[in-house]
Amino acid sequence: MRNEPAIAAATEMRPGRYPELSALGMYEAVLATFLRQWSLDPKAVDGFLACPAGMASGETADIFVHEELADSLGLHPRFSETVNAGGASYAIMAHRASWAISEGLADAVLCVGAGKFPKVGAGGADAMARMVSHPDFEYIYGAFIPALYALAARRHMHERGTTREQLAAVAVSTRRWALLHPDALMRGQGPITLEDVLNSRPVAEPFNLLDCSVPCEGGAAFLVARGDIARRITPQPAYLLGAGEYHDHGPVSAARDFAAMGAPEAATAAFRSAGLVPADVRVAEIYDAFTINSIMFLEATGLVAPGEGGRFFLEGRGAPGGELPVNTYGGLLSFGHTGDASGISMVVEGALQVMGRAGARQAPDASVALVHTYGGMMSEHCTLLLGRNP
């Protein structure tokens, strides 16, 4: 891309529960964490993107977050808005920021997200169900989040022969990565086995509890900057080599392809814009609300052949030491699912891997990272390709 847009800085706050913080307070905590880690000159930042605050937690969605935070940060950007495409918001921010930089509309765009996932008990599951399903044609049937994803899992199993054990293998692999991340929520729980997943309590078949991501609170920020600016901030930025989007169904019952959703279209566009092929990818960060997602989207992005995703995880090929590290930060499954902010985790981790800043979980070769995110019920997809060389 023109002007070599790159992620020059990225920091994720430790996921957890922050009852003392409001939705906007979470944003302030995330930005303070980011500013402490990176010494940046506010005058160099002329773009700012944020997500609506307080959607998932049931506080009124604040859609002027970008105004409030930009002012608070002393920014007067020439490129700024509040962006929302659910979990895809943050890869889409990176995409939008890279266009803006490519077209000379901005030089450095700060992107931020913070979120709270409501507790599943105490009415949280019902409130979330109302938000993510069609209120009149899905919600009334007892639809809620794990059940809606289970529909995709069942169809994938039917079409492609994916097994219950293979789903469990995703949770096992992802937990192994989480044990290498000092901030991962489930790190203290230690490793898990296939049997642990298979014996955890049933939620919505084929999912048991350990097939589900862990609700929590958190967020992150990252800076996308013109190549020369990025290189002044850090010796090895993560260049945005390509990106692709595809906005598929609304309600999940309208999905045309339950085994892939809209992911292949987004990934194909990303590879085309980068001039790369799936075999170039060395590390993958895939939005994993449930175990099936890692399998579905590893296949849908072309990183493994259709029907091979389950076996890939069962054979440990995505785990530490495997041929293609997948969800190296521990995934939403074991790092934590931060509600509105969840989709930023894989963008941050993809960047940190490429930048060589991933510590104990650093992939041996992170020359090209694929990030795949989606929003809604696997409705809108955005794939990013990040690399060491522009």
Partner: protein
């Protein structure tokens, strides 16, 4: 305990819910391209005609995918758990979500032929559901 949720009835969806109250299953059909449309909306998603008619549907379909829900989202659904949540492709083409009733979860399968039935809810509402189409 609060009963199962009720749909909001809008100008666009009223004919669907009125028909269901009378035990009839109707969906929209485009007056221009003649394709069937569901869920109800003010336009045809295939050709953008705004001329849609309500027609009696066969009530037949097959299961595209399903799950048995063990952990219900609310007490109203916990009573019947595990219950089957499914996506059904109607014989007319469109897909819809419903519960498949009168079947054990372990007997469910993708491709199962189903037919419409109705579930009574509060306020005289009847909600279309599906059951195995035997014979």
């Amino acid at each position: 305990m609060k009963g199962k949720p009720l749909p909001r009835v809008t100008e666009v969806t009223r004919p669907y819910w009125d028909a269901a109250r009378a035990g009839r299953f109707v969906i929209q059909r485009c007056g221009r391209c003649r394709r069937f449309v569901h869920y109800p909306r003010p336009w045809c998603p295939h050709c953008w005609s705004t001329e849609l008619d309500w027609v009696e549907a066969s009530g037949r379909g097959e299961v595209v995918t399903y799950t048995a829900v063990h952990q219900a989202p609310s007490p109203a659904f916990a009573v019947g758990a595990p219950y089957v949540l499914a996506v059904v492709r109607l014989a007319e083409g469109p897909q819809m979500m419903a519960n498949v009733v009168h079947i054990q979860p372990r007997e469910m399968r993708v491709g199962l032929p189903v037919r419409v039935t109705f579930e009574e809810r509060e306020g005289g509402f009847r909600v279309p559901q599906f059951e195995p189409a035997t014979g």
